[in-house]
């Protein structure tokens, strides 16, 4: 019985959670991510009643665009579910245990073991609500599937789990939004996301994270498995979070699978962002393309580490990874670390990483056309991100991201002016 299977999994995960110490992620150089300041004991999985209408904050972000389905989880409870395309299965993971036990049993945790660390174990042990997506074989959905994780009260712990299965030759757009208003106090989002794109499937996936100015700790693992001749385009966007540690992994698991992974981050104030991504090729004739771009203001810290891993036998795989980080403040610190493990021959894999600042020649050039220094700086940063924003290929979401970047740049204008002024 699937319910038993989940109960057993929760129990085993609880043991791991209790045994494991609070994690600390270290990297060469100055980088350490730790969660010592998180008062885990003071957080609780807050429950909420279902909602008849969407919270304002959610509406602002998802816009008026029609969707194939929408699910909102607030704190520990799924409070809103709406499916407009009946071919789609979108429900809480709790209900999916009853309604789609075989699928849940087959895929839950398939690529996401509960024993990888304390927070992964916590999510596996304590998840409530949850999101379950199933796009059946041969079903093509034009409108997006939207999932929202909302944290609107401090002292909340949200143990989040999304399980998405896109059947053979299924096609969909899947959007996850992580949102919180600016509150005083701590909160936790410990997330698990798994997507299985079965043979021939085409998935356009985006994550939009903006946890606001509260002390939200986001410790998540997101994993995507791509089957034979299937394709996933994944665009994670990080626009706010007090402390974020995420692992984002893509596995091209069978021949002919293809992934395109494009990420963006913008950190400010005292934010701390730690991203670790892997592009793992488990089969031959697979292709990958990873581009990440970030910008940092204030005293923020952002580290991006990207690994390409080509396992033995995955011949004729072709992939590359690029990461760029732009410092817009003298006190911000950024890392961009690409790395490579290639365990077979006859493949092509390349990678590159840069950490830079705004280019004074570009600023001068724009100013000679009558554009002010601050306008030039804004346009250059927006232009820098534009390549990534366009890869969203979703006008509503693109506009949202552009608007948020513009807001952040306006907020940082004085310090950036000072910074680039100092250097000229």
């Amino acid at each position: 019985m699937p319910a038993d299977f989940v109960a057993d999994r929760r129990k085993a995960a609880l043991e791991v959670f209790e045994r494991e110490p609070l994690p600390r992620w270290r990297r060469s150089g100055f980088w350490t991510t730790d969660v010592r300041k998180l008062r885990l004991d003071e957080l609780e999985p807050r429950r909420y009643e279902p909602l008849d209408k969407l919270p304002e904050m959610v509406r602002e972000h998802i816009g008026d665009e029609e969707h194939a389905g929408l699910l909102v989880q607030r704190g520990a409870s799924v409070v809103y579910t709406h499916v407009s395309d009946e071919r789609l299965v979108l429900t809480s993971l709790e209900r999916a245990l009853e309604e789609h036990p075989e699928l849940v049993r087959e895929y839950l945790g398939k690529r996401l073991p509960y024993d990888e660390g304390k927070f992964q174990a916590a999510t596996a042990a304590f998840w409530t609500g949850g999101a379950f997506v199933h796009v059946p074989k041969d079903v093509q959905l034009d409108k997006p599937i939207q999932i929202v994780w909302l944290l609107d009260d401090p002292a909340t712990a949200q143990y989040a789990h999304t399980l998405a299965v896109v059947g053979e030759f299924g096609e969909c757009k899947l959007r996850e939004y992580c949102l919180a208003p600016d509150f005083d106090g701590q909160a936790l989002h410990a997330g698990a996301f798994e997507l299985y794109a079965l043979p021939g499937a085409q998935v356009d996936l985006a994550h939009y994270q903006d946890w606001g100015e509260g002390e939200v700790h986001d410790i998540s693992t997101k994993r995507v498995e791509i089957g034979r001749d299937a394709r996933v385009k994944w665009v994670p966007v990080h626009l706010g979070g007090h402390l974020t540690r995420q692992r984002l992994d893509i596995v091209t698991a069978e021949e002919g699978s293809d992934m395109r992974h494009t990420g963006l981050y913008f950190t400010e104030r005292e934010e701390h962002l730690d991203l670790f991504t892997t592009d793992k090729h488990e089969a031959g004739h697979t292709t990958g393309d990873t581009v990440w771009k970030g910008a940092l203001t204030g005293d923020s810290r952002a580290s991006y580490e990207g690994l390409i891993h080509i396992v033995p036998g995955a011949q004729e795989s072709h992939t590359y990874l690029q990461t760029h980080s732009m410092l817009l403040s003298p006190k911000a610190k950024g890392d961009a670390i690409p790395s490579l493990i290639v365990q077979t021959d006859n493949v092509s894999a390349s990678h590159g990483g840069t950490v830079g600042e705004l280019d004074e020649d570009q600023i001068f050039y724009m100013m000679t056309r009558g554009v002010s220094r601050s306008e030039a700086m804004r346009v250059l940063v927006e232009g820098y991100f534009e390549e990534v924003v366009q890869r969203l290929d979703d006008p509503g979401l693109e506009e949202l991201v552009r608007r948020r970047i513009a807001d952040k740049l306006r907020g940082a204008e004085e310090q950036v002016k000072e910074f680039i002024g100092e250097r000229s």
Binding site: F364, T368, G370, S372, E382
Partner: protein
Amino acid sequence: MSLEIQNLHVRTEEREILHGVDLVVKKAETHALMGPNGSGKSTLANTLMGSPSYEITEGRILLNGEELNEADPDARARAGLFMAFQYPATIPGVSVANFLRMAVNAGREEPIKVKEFGQLLGKHMELLRIDRDFTSRYLNEGFSGGEKKRAEILQLAMLQPEFAVLDETDSGLDIDALRIVAEGVNAMRVPERGFLIITHYTRILNYVRPDFVHIMLDGRIVREGDSALAGELEEKGYEWVREEVTA
């Protein structure tokens, strides 16, 4: 109306490059500034625009009587000064059309109307024989040498400055591209505008005939004359000037 350079001394962090340059460009005039590589021509152009890489230690730059020495580059542009760059910067993520609109609007109180902008752009692109799809490309990203120079002249045409400095706009152009660029410049030679054309070669001056020619050597203007001087230089080369000066 004039662009006036008085006893201009300019240095970089390492050394002084211009050792007292005097030059006056009045409106309706076209001046050519010629000189071998490293003579200080580009330093002069970049200093006129207020490049942060150069420091004025003595002398003045005046535009219509107003001193520009301390003005930021954007203020100089809004005052009517323009430079076509020898090596224009790439602006990723910003299309030619959006860049031009931003630049045009920077010099106006009210933003230009979409239709008016479109007509103006169409007209100038036709003059410079630039394809329509050019405007949706990111400015200078992946542009050939000729495309970059044409994009510079297109900006000149759209911004309609009082004084335009062309910093080696002719270099790196094949003869067809040079002719198109020269035609564009000639179309913009109107009584309300002055030009300072900086070049290493006399080639462009066969198409854009200057009223005055100045020859720069080692950070000083050493010879001045009318367009005949360019012909003489073509014939005898920069070594001749150097020998004359040191003699």
